[in-house]
């Protein structure tokens, strides 16, 4: 299912570390292979993509978002 979320990019230092997006409601999405422009802590962005329910990760911080398109706010 395709979703659109807005929030702040953070680097979660858990395990080997991972990029995430935290919404104002404190929901955390793990970003699957984020493109380089998004790899910047504190960045506000709107991401559109799909939640990969069939994937497990080592970060385990929340739903895995595979980004289809993004906009840096």
């Amino acid at each position: 299912m395709s979703i659109k979320v807005t929030g702040t990019i953070i680097y979660q230092n858990l395990g080997v570390g991972t990029w995430a997006l935290v919404t104002p409601e404190q929901e955390t999405y793990e970003l699957k292979d984020p493109p380089t422009p998004l790899r910047q802590s504190g960045l506000k962005a709107t991401l559109e993509g799909i939640i990969r329910d069939d994937i497990m990760t080592v970060a385990m911080i929340g739903p895995v978002l595979e980004i289809k398109s993004f906009r840096i706010d």
């Binding site: 858990l14 395990g15 699957k32 069939d54 994937i55 497990m56 990760t57 080592v58 911080i61 895995v64």
Partner: protein, 588 residues
């Protein structure tokens, strides 16, 4: 029926122990021999002898240390055979003694230089567990990002795994996660390098199902089946996410039914309920603790959490050897996460497997029962509590006869004394050893089958009832009457004849009468009652052993009547102890 079963078990155990007991003095390990030359010998003569021995046995023979010059203590490589030969040779005349240079072992503290930074290993009480097992031979599958053979995994045994991401048998780690996790389970330990792992004599089966962007449920499910089909006994999955999957659930059931213990991380979202796969009922879900023993701020909690283990926090991470994914080079790095907590549990599960606990359900029970309980845990942040490797291993060994357990029992109960095995020769040693062994077996049965706590007063009673401090019987001091020693060194059954020093037992003492009176008199005081029960059980053993070794009774003779009398009284004692023990509070 139960009583009969216990009795049969006891007799079989006693017979077995008697047939196999090799003698404690034979247990020490040595690979060199101490020769202590007499101090009145001229140094030149000693030098000549050393020269002669050097040539004869083709080795350099040295003083033990510079401090040995005065005492003439020399060390020679050799075994039991050589000691025998030397003791029979003319060399014996020139020495004070020739004896094995026993190797002493202390509680395991590994020599890995950064072990001191591994607060997490001490917090699970791993040293106590190492005293019993290091997970010898158990195969632990690490279903993760692969495992690279970094320097501090060189001495760790590996078995072939599989890379489901790249479909090949080479299973290297390109993320640095799986290698770290494998390190917690079985980092090469006592190798004078790096850090330690928990079950470091277990074997790692690397299974790669994740790349940098995670991995699919299909690959993970296949990884689980692969592990189960290839002999893995424990599976660690420091991964999670996604939703419920029929494919995954089936793979987990398949492995579980094959006896595999499956451990998974609870997840790092700081949310109520563990992530999949920790959520599945047949998977042990592990939440993470920080160095203070509190739930780590990131750890999931609630449903699906079975137990808590160290996962580290911002300041106190879990240190292992892994690879730096950007360079591929070996690094020692601290990570935090429930990913780090799960392998602690997997390592301890491997230890339990190695001491013979097979069933994954039983392993979970042992882990839960032995965990340190957290008093107030309304949100189920800790499951059964904090992982305790030492307590888990101890609990698993309860109910198993092992030499270590026996040895500890002997030591704790004062049977072990340097003079014991020398002076013991002055009294009939074999029946005494049989009595001691018998009361150990009884004590063991008690811990396992009888419904009350194991206590100091009970074991003292056992010793008094079965054999007494018989070492004392060998004491003869000038101008002092020997009978007080004889009395102190006597068991309850022998008291009646100890003063007179006659070999025949007094049937009044060697019967159920005294235990009966003791239990009657002491039943009001809890510790007194346990002492009385101990005496009664010890008497059971003493009478049973005497019935078969030397049934000499005053007035009743040495024949079948005496033997029958002793057997009947042994049985009565056992029954009495059993009845008296009912209603005692049960403790684990």
């Amino acid at each position: 029926m139960r009583r009969l079963l216990i009795l049969v078990l006891f007799l079989v155990g006693l017979g077995f122990a008697l047939a196999n007991f090799p003698g404690l003095a034979q247990q020490g390990e040595f690979d060199s021999i101490i020769i202590n030359f007499r101090e009145d010998l001229p140094k030149t003569e000693i030098r000549d002898k050393i020269q002669f021995l050097s040539t004869k046995y083709d080795q350099e023979i040295n003083l033990n240390s510079v401090f040995s010059i005065e005492d003439n203590i020399y060390i020679l490589r050799g075994d039991k055979q050589l000691i025998k030969t030397l003791r029979k040779s003319p060399l014996k005349q020139l020495t004070e003694y020739i004896e094995p240079n026993y190797i002493y072992n202390i509680l395991e503290v590994p020599n890995d230089p950064d072990y001191s930074k591994q607060w997490n290993l001490r917090s699970i009480n791993v040293e106590q567990a190492w005293d019993e097992t290091k997970g010898e031979g158990v195969i632990v599958a690490v279903i993760d990002t692969g495992v690279s053979r970094v320097p501090d995994l060189q001495q760790t045994e590996f078995v072939p795994g599989y890379d489901f991401v790249n479909n090949r048998t080479q299973v290297n780690d390109d993320v640095g996660h799986g290698t770290h996790v494998a390190g917690t389970i079985a980092q090469s330990t006592n190798n004078n390098y790096g850090v330690a792992g928990i079950a470091y004599q277990a074997k790692i089966m690397p299974i790669k199902v994740l790349g940098t962007g995670g991995g699919t449920v299909a690959d993970i499910a296949e990884g689980i089946r692969f592990a189960a089909d290839n002999g893995a006994q424990v599976i660690n999955m420091s991964l999670g996410g996604g939703g419920e999957s029929q494919l995954m659930a089936e793979a987990i059931n398949y492995a579980y039914d094959k006896g595999v213990v499956i451990v998974a991380a609870a997840g790092n979202a700081n949310q109520n309920a563990a992530a999949y796969p920790a959520r599945y009922p047949k998977v042990i879900g592990v939440s993470a603790l920080d160095a203070a023993g509190n739930r780590a701020e990131y750890s999931n909690f609630g449903a699906g959490v079975d137990i808590a283990a160290p996962g580290g926090g911002k300041e106190d991470k879990i240190l292992q050897n892994t690879i730096d994914p950007t360079t591929g080079k070996s690094v020692f790095v601290g990570y935090q996460g429930t990913s780090m907590a799960a392998p602690h549990v997997a390592g301890v599960a491997a230890m339990l497997k190695s001491i013979g606990v097979e069933d994954p359900g039983e392993i979970l029970n042992i882990l839960k029962q032995s965990a340190r309980k957290v008093d107030s845990d309304p949100l189920n942040e800790y499951g059964a509590g904090q992982l305790d490797a030492g307590a888990a291993v101890k609990l698993a060994l309860r109910g198993k006869l092992s030499f270590r357990d026996f040895f500890r029992w002997v030591r704790d109960n004062g049977y072990l004394n340097p003079r014991f095995w020398i002076d013991g020769g002055a009294v009939a040693l074999l029946p005494k050893i049989a009595m001691m062994l018998g009361s150990y077996l009884l004590a063991w049965l008690l811990r396992y089958y009888f419904p009350f706590g194991w206590s100091w007063s009970l074991s003292n009673g056992l010793i008094f009832g079965s054999s007494g401090l018989f070492l004392l019987k060998g004491f003869y001091i000038f101008d002092l009457p020997q009978w007080p020693f004889r009395v102190m060194g006597s068991s309850l059954a022998e008291l009646g004849n100890a003063i007179g020093g006659t070999p025949e037992l007094n049937p009044l003492f060697a019967s159920v009468l005294i235990p009966f009176l003791l239990i009657g008199l002491l039943s009001g005081i809890p510790s007194g009652k346990r002492f009385a029960i101990g005496c009664t059980l010890g008497m059971t053993v003493a009478l049973a052993v005497t019935a078969f070794s030397s049934p000499h009774l005053w007035l009743l003779g040495s024949g079948a009547i005496a033997q029958g009398f002793l057997i009947v009284n042994a049985l009565l004692c056992f029954g009495l102890a059993y009845l008296a023990s009912q209603g005692e509070p049960k403790t684990l």
